[in-house]
Assembly symmetry: C2
Homo-oligomer: 255 residues x 2
């Protein structure tokens, strides 16, 4: 199978002109088939505030009422997505911006209300990657916004890490997929205080050992558990690296 | 060649939930390949006002400064386009929302400053419809927002009628294209005061005769001249009709 690199970048990098420009240049240098998944939360918060809409977060997740859904449709689907697409086209990358509604790429269901009512937030139920895979083979580079739809006419706000993981798993039927998550650090660190102490490779056995030894802890544990889930679902490798290193072969390789 | 119907609808219809729902139901009933091109000016004006940005128009065209460009990217590319896509998906229409930047569909150049500086407004220079035609053949229904790009990294605001005309001309190399413009009237009227006096067909000779006789006048003349230009460029027919009649075979047929 042909290789494909799927890069997930957080909002911060794509929301400032300077860092976005650098990211797109680095992304353009990745060889072979590729996909970019972006966030945009800071811009959504900013635009919402300008519109007099308050952003409410629970455990880092945005509460998306009807007014906030319009904001994220505008910011994720329009402003951020199309800025990236235009920027990549200028670098001769044949970008195509998509939400999960486009070509019914990702169908989700509105999250059931339990302790928290997240509002118009979707949990992914189905990914249709066949047409997307054909477009990729023809040189198209999809740029995915963190929005899905319920196939009943509603857009739903969906976490960008989830979009990246689900897209990677579905594309694994068509390509050898490397799923790359951009962090602020160079990779998973053996010593939090030493930026150079990157753990180069991690399999499940090593991961469990590091967790037992207290070397890997906190928020990195669920992130790596998600990475291993992607591996179990057919993704070839998950790479955790800095945004500025996405075109280098550095960072932590999870397999 | 296979048939394709390309429908251009103005902003008003797609910007209100009730009329949008009816339009999408009518559009879904059009048989065979189809494309939808939408405006969104009223929503752009509304969102801009909420953000404290004043809309300035010259001869019905929007002056698009850097802040207004962000608004139209959000409203046309995000809010309006993705609402339509999600609405069509609910009707089993495999919609794909696109701007001219996506897959480099439409490259434009920033309009030169003459008497008026329109700002970030683009005149279309190149349409790349090959990939689009393949997607259409595979059942995809493109939904085009009135935005293009300059291939230097900038989005440009572009008149939706122009987008529709240029897309129709480029797709005419791949399909027998019917270009349909939605008006408030049932078609081109012989008598402005009689809504039932629709002229069923118009060729260039009849058009010139009606103009000489003063039956066709005012803003309808440039619209019909554009229609004949599309015919000259290979579009099979141009239909001028009401939004609620797009799935019927009524209105004025220009050929």
């Amino acid at each position: 199978m042909e290789k494909l690199t799927l890069v997930k970048v957080g909002g911060k990098i794509v929301e400032e002109a300077d860092t976005l420009k650098q990211l797109l240049e680095d992304f353009a240098q990745i060889e072979g088939h590729k996909v970019l998944v972006h966030g945009g939360g800071r811009s959504a918060t900013k635009v919402a505030a300008q519109l007099g809409i308050e952003s409410r977060m629970v455990d880092g997740r945005r509460i998306t009422d009807a007014e906030m859904l319009k904001v994220v449709a505008m910011v994720y689907g329009g402003l951020v997505n199309k800025s990236i697409v235009a920027g990549l086209q200028a670098l001769d990358v044949n970008a195509l911006g998509l939400t999960g509604a486009d070509m019914n790429l990702m169908r989700s269901e509105k999250r059931p209300v339990k302790e928290v009512d997240y509002g118009f937030v979707g949990d992914v139920k189905e990914v249709n990657a066949g047409l997307l895979a054909d477009l990729i083979r023809r040189g198209v580079v999809p740029v995915l916004a963190p929005l899905t739809h319920d196939r009943k006419g509603h857009l739903l706000n969906t976490n960008a890490d989830t979009i990246a993981g689900e897209a990677a798993k579905a594309l694994a039927a068509h390509f050898d997929v490397t799923l790359m998550f951009c962090f602020e650090k160079k990779g998973v660190l053996r010593d939090e205080k030493d930026d150079e102490s990157v753990i180069p490779t991690l399999d499940r056995g090593m991961f469990q050992q590091y967790v037992e030894e207290g070397i890997i802890q906190g928020g990195m544990i669920p992130k790596l558990e998600n990475a291993f889930q992607a591996i179990d679902a057919g993704v070839k490798e998950v790479v955790i690296t800095r945004a500025s290193d996405i075109h280098k072969h550095t960072g932590t390789r999870v397999f």
